[in-house]
């Protein structure tokens, strides 16, 4: 068992390293169009990670991640337009705080309470929140109504303008790496052990004496914060934020990214975003399958994508990461491995 565990952990680390190297090198080698494409993947990967933290690690089904993403994007876009503040050092922390507070407020509404809420209640509650805010934004002229807020000025760092392209790409990558590493540290800490317990048997955790609500509120708020940062980056990268970035469609997209890539692995969320967005882009342009299929894919590619996602959920619940990691290895070991090995070797009992 010990050996299996070690091998699979290094397989995960291997995937992380390969992805990091690719993310570091590819922007230097590709044309500007692809650099912009990759930047968007980095930004949406943050949104996917925010969902994986709540669903993959704490068992909270949130269909409302776009709410934190979009509202934070709107807030910083408005601030930028109305006050002329474009500094990343001001706007990004504000987006993070807005996401954090919204996450906490949503948690207070649908998660916290004396009784443990059902999975369906939380899923529908978060989705409703996302839907309501989208409808609100569509009808509110102050935030641009149906058109949203466009023509955003570039972010600045001191005197330096962060132009879309290679600079923005590496800035987004830096943030993704920092947030990924912090999330990785969090889910592997003893706090993460409690989250894993909550995901598997919430009642048992409560009867052990833990205040389950506190843990859920913390992880949900942090998830809101990450989605908020993602939303702010998106707004300034695209130069636009609209009602589509607030609603259930983007929220569901975040769920699909993670289900497709692999729930509860963090890196699976990044893989999910990359593969799905690449397919979204490439499928309508496939030409080598003959004119009939090409004509079909031009408009019918979402059907193919939908079928693929359905098959993944049905036959490969571990997502794409399931091809690289055994189901068993997705369960982390939280104890001190060296001490565990030592106690095994000392043989207080003989192993079978």
């Amino acid at each position: 068992m010990q050996k299996v565990h070690r091998v699979t952990i290094s397989a995960l680390t291997g995937i992380e390293i390969v992805l990091f190297v690719l993310a570091l090198v590819l922007p230097l080698l590709l044309e500007n169009f692809w650099v912009l494409f990759i930047t968007k993947i980095f930004i949406l990967a943050l949104l996917a990670i925010s969902f994986d933290l709540v669903w993959g690690y704490a068992g909270i089904m949130s269909f409302g991640q776009a709410l934190f993403f979009g509202v934070s994007g709107y807030v910083v876009a408005l601030l930028s337009q109305k006050t002329g503040v474009h500094s990343i050092f001001v706007l990004l922390p504000i987006a993070a705080i807005v996401g954090l507070l919204l996450g906490f407020m949503m948690a207070a509404l649908v998660i916290l309470g004396k009784r443990i809420p059902s999975l369906a209640f939380v899923a529908l509650g978060t989705m409703t929140g996302s839907y309501v805010i989208e409808r609100l934004a569509r009808g509110w002229s102050y935030v641009g109504g149906q058109n949203g807020i466009s023509s955003l000025a570039r972010l600045t760092a001191g005197e330096f303008e962060i132009e879309e392209g290679i600079v923005f790409c590496y800035m987004a990558l830096s943030l993704l790496v920092i947030i990924y590493l912090l999330s990785r540290w969090l889910v592997r800490s003893q706090f993460g052990l409690v989250l894993a317990g909550i995901r598997q048997h919430e009642n048992r955790v409560s009867f052990l004496g833990y205040n389950v609500q506190t843990f859920k509120a913390v992880i949900f708020s942090l998830s809101g914060m990450i989605a908020g940062i993602s939303g702010a980056l998106f707004a300034f990268h695209e130069g636009f934020i609209g009602p589509g970035q607030l609603g259930p469609v983007l929220s569901t997209q975040a769920v699909l990214y993670v289900l497709f890539g692999g729930v509860g692995t963090l890196v699976g969320a990044i893989i999910g975003v990359t593969v799905l967005d690449l397919m979204n882009f490439l499928l309508p342009q496939v030409e080598f399958l003959g004119p009939t299929l090409t004509n079909f894919l031009e408009t019918g590619w979402p059907i193919l994508l939908g079928l693929l996602l359905l098959c993944t959920v049905m036959f490969r619940p571990a997502g794409l990461m399931g091809f690289f990691m055994r189901d068993r290895s997705r369960n982390l070991l939280f104890g001190n491995k060296d001490k565990m090995n030592q106690s095994s070797e000392n043989g207080l009992e003989s192993r079978p």
Binding site: S189, Q200, L333, R351
Partner: protein, 244 residues
């Protein structure tokens, strides 16, 4: 000295009275058995004690403190620990981590974030795993353990909270006779550190380990007292033993 004092507890669900005016006392370091036929209210009683249910009427005192309306986690922090009827471990966590999560239950959130407890409880984890014959399975997922071993793991987790009173709901359900014997041996030393309230169908098992018994029937106490005396009570023989 009385540790648990249950006074006139009733639990009513709509038109169903699950418990009616139940009194129950458990002394410190006492092993007390709660028995009765199916549907007599034993599990409801345990739920009212653990905080999963709040009694409709009556009071529950633990070590002199009124805990009637406290939440499960508050009761746990006050020294009350429950082993569920249906095994409630974390199947996708290693056996070692199941013990660790129980042992670090009273750590602060910051302490958990900084993983201070990762090394702090290692010796205790090994102590409990060794005592409950689970050390050799420390790396295995808890869901891979046999049913009996899962029951032991959950008892060990409940004990790791260092409770004043341990509530066990049918700890030998589904166990082989060999496993039941081992379970009795594992429970015996607990007497030195805490009291035990145990709900069990296996009368031979409960007779062997309990000092006193309370018998419930249709939500009411029909007998209570020293184990030998209660076993010979004609009402108990009539309503309970006939059903076993």
């Amino acid at each position: 000295m009385t540790l648990l004092e249950v006074r006139s507890v009733s639990k009513i669900y709509g038109s169903l009275t699950a418990l009616s005016n139940v009194d129950l006392n458990v002394a410190e370091n006492e092993f007390h058995g709660l028995i009765g036929p199916n549907g007599s209210g034993k599990t409801t009683m345990l739920k009212c004690l653990a905080g999963a249910e709040i009694p409709t009427l009556g009071k529950v005192h633990l070590a002199g403190k009124d805990v009637t309306t406290l939440s499960p986690q508050e009761r746990s922090r006050f020294g009350l620990s429950l082993k569920f009827q249906i095994t409630a471990i974390f199947p996708e966590l290693a056996v070692y981590d199941n013990m660790l999560i129980a042992l670090q239950a009273h750590q602060t959130t910051l302490g958990l974030l900084l993983s201070r407890s990762k090394n702090m409880f290692h010796d205790e984890v090994i102590h409990y795993l060794d005592r409950f014959h689970l050390h050799s399975r420390q790396y295995d997922l808890a869901g891979e353990l046999s049913h009996g071993q899962q029951q032991w793991l959950e008892i060990a987790m409940s004990l790791a909270l260092k409770p004043r009173l341990l509530l066990l709901d049918e700890p030998t359900a589904g166990m082989s006779s060999q496993e039941r014997r081992v379970t009795a041996e594992l429970l015996a030393p607990i007497k030195e550190v805490c009291s035990l309230l145990i709900v069990e169908h296996d009368l031979d098992f409960i007779k062997d380990i309990c000092d006193s018994l309370t018998v419930l029937d249709q939500g009411q106490v029909i007998a209570s007292g020293p184990a030998k005396q209660v076993q010979n009570d004609p009402r108990v023989k009539e309503v309970y033993l006939a059903n076993v």
